[in-house]
């Protein structure tokens, strides 16, 4: 998953890499930058963090534009360079002459300074605007941001996570064979949410390799065999009907249905004719013999 995201095979508008002082995310950020540099025309790297100058020494920056936003971050020296007090989007527009048919990407290292000096909502608005509106005058392929999660409270990071479409949280790898571990949280455009925990290693060229999913599978002992037993198989009586039997059943005249023949039979019998049924009592002197047998009839 993380490999596909870095190579751009899984589309994502805003990628947020959350790291902490123990598990740094700048390596993954470099991996995204070097992949973006191959895919888009220009990569604009905004550096608010003092450590981000390392990026320049690590990767090929021929297609990247780097803005130094950290050496005078509060504009105390009145230098014209980027600082946290001026708005990023007008600054980028002013510094560049971006044409409509270009494809660019914006990398912000890191959002933490912006959040601390401005506000979380302002930061969210900036990255949302960069990614979804053509405010720079051309299509923005991807916005990749680094966030030092341990500097902010839960509320602030949840605001930024709400805005991002992919969140990569750096953590300790669960095995010794890998150098990095992370939790990836990807919101697809269709609305599907993918959540995965992975281990991986970074090469010297910031290539992500040996990606292995950390499975949290709980293995359940499947009880007995799953083959469904037909309960009607070995019965001593018959539950099913053959076609012939069905036909016979459908011809049965049920008592509540209207039947001309039966109606007439009952009517004709009851007219002009009577029947006497005699049930002898116990005290009845019932003669077994025929009383008329002596007669010669």
């Amino acid at each position: 998953m993380i490999g596909d995201l870095a190579k751009g095979q899984d589309k994502s508008n805003i990628v947020l890499i959350e790291d902490s002082s123990d598990y740094l995310g700048r390596g993954v950020l470099c991996s995204f930058i070097s992949s973006l540099a191959e895919r888009v025309d220009e990569v604009h790297i905004v550096c608010y963090d003092g450590r981000s100058r390392d990026i320049k020494s690590h990767i090929d920056v021929s297609r990247c534009k780097i803005y130094d936003g950290h050496s005078d971050i509060l504009n105390w020296n009145n230098t014209p360079s980027l600082n946290a007090t001026i708005d990023l989007i007008p600054f980028l527009i002013e510094k560049n002459n971006i044409h409509g048919n270009k494809k660019i990407a914006v990398v912000i290292d890191s959002l933490s300074q912006l959040i601390l000096y401005r506000s979380a909502s302002y930061t969210c608005q900036v990255i949302h605007k960069l990614a979804y509106t053509q405010c720079l005058g051309c299509e923005v392929e991807q916005v990749v941001c680094l966030l030092h999660e341990d500097l902010h409270d839960h509320m602030t990071s949840s605001l930024v996570e709400h805005t991002a479409s992919t969140i990569i949280k750096m953590k300790k790898p669960s095995t010794d064979q890998h150098t990095h571990g992370c939790d990836v949280f990807h919101k697809k455009i269709s609305g599907k949410i993918t959540q995965i925990s992975e281990n991986f290693s970074l090469t010297d060229n910031f290539e992500i390799k040996d990606v292995k999913e950390v499975s949290t599978v709980i293995s359940l002992q499947s009880s007995a065999d799953d083959s469904q037993v037909d309960p009607a198989a070995n019965l001593t009586f018959n539950l099913t009907l053959t076609d012939k039997e069905k036909k016979a059943r459908s011809q049965v005249k049920l008592p509540y249905t209207y039947d001309q023949q039966r109606q007439e039979d009952t009517l004709s019998k009851s007219v002009g004719e009577g029947k006497i049924f005699y049930q002898p009592d116990e005290i009845d002197d019932f003669d077994e013999e025929d009383p008329d047998d002596d007669l010669d009839i």
Binding site: S121, H162, L254
Partner: protein
């Protein structure tokens, strides 16, 4: 001829507005949310003149979907629609509305009824009785929609609709002291819409219609909301906005559906928002939750 001042006491005349029906409980005028099963949960529908708060699920997908149903229902009933979103392009949301399922089969063919007589065995005493339709066919209130299809744009354009996007809310310079200026501007625009469209109860209008106001993801960071906090204290902008909306709607033929990403706020703050709305529904989805992950993994092995 003498006339008396005596008048026969009769029920107040109930307004006949397409897509609206009086409540069975209290004669309030109701409209459908676009999801008939939800309507029955909330007592038949949303009462006209009230604010409906929908607390979004964690990723907002289902909240957005329900708002789309609400908008689709506006298209089907011919109500006016006013849609606002800062997170998404509202025009895009209107393009993605689900298409209605037309479930009117028309008059059934003659021979079909004869056939059904032959097949059904029935006690002969009852055979001559007239047939009754077990379910009513005239569903004017609440429609069903097919999510796999999108609404015909011509149909959407057939109703009076207007949208407010993030860009429209940025052009505001009025510094409102009582609340966040985006909220203030939106409230002003809603007021204007009610006045322009003559949806107010005080204006006379021979052909009444209902205004449906949809606000998507109100209170997200795009509105400049810091999770309901202003420094150390709660930010009272959003409660004030809701209060203002309610006051506006009480005297208007309008219904407001607001989706709010309430998971971004503190629980106490959400409680405050809930109290300022008339109907509140909280959504929770399985998407991305730990539980479903567990279930999925169990199913796999």
């Amino acid at each position: 001829m003498t006339s008396t001042s005596f008048q026969k006491k009769s029920k107040a005349k109930i307004l006949q507005i397409p897509g609206a029906k009086p409540s069975l409980y209290n004669n309030q005028l109701l409209i459908s949310t676009g999801i008939p099963s939800l309507d029955s949960i909330i007592g038949g529908g949303v009462a006209v003149g009230t604010v409906f708060l929908l607390e979004e699920d964690a990723y907002g997908n289902y909240g957005r979907l329900m708002l789309k149903y609400f908008c689709s229902e506006a298209v089907m009933t011919g109500h006016s629609l006013h849609l606002t979103s800062a997170d998404r392009d509202p025009q895009q949301i209107l393009k993605e509305l689900p298409a209605p399922i037309i479930d009117d089969p028309g008059p059934p063919p003659e021979d079909a009824t004869n056939q059904s007589d032959e097949h059904m065995k029935i006690a002969w005493r009852y055979q001559h009785l007239p047939k009754y339709q077990s379910n009513p066919t005239s569903i004017k209130f609440g429609h069903y929609y097919d999510l796999t299809k999108t609404m015909d744009p011509d149909l959407t354009n057939s109703i009076d609709h207007s949208t407010i996007s993030e860009a429209d809310l940025c052009t505001c310079f009025s510094s409102s002291t009582s609340m966040n200026e985006k909220y203030a501007l939106l409230l002003e625009k809603i007021k204007q819409k009610i006045d322009d469209g003559k949806f107010s109860t005080t204006t006379q209008h021979d052909k009444r219609n209902i205004l449906r106001i949809g606000i998507h993801s109100l209170g997200s960071p795009q509105w400049g909301e810091n999770g309901g906090m202003k420094g150390e204290n709660f930010d009272s902008s959003l409660p004030r906005f809701l209060y203002g909306c309610r006051a506006l709607l009480r005297s208007a033929f309008a219904v407001m559906m607001i989706t709010v990403p309430s998971h971004l706020f503190q629980p106490a703050y959400v409680g405050r928002l809930r109290k300022l709305c008339d109907t509140v529904i909280q959504l929770e989805s399985f998407a991305g939750s730990e539980k479903i992950l567990l279930v999925k993994n169990i199913m796999v092995c």
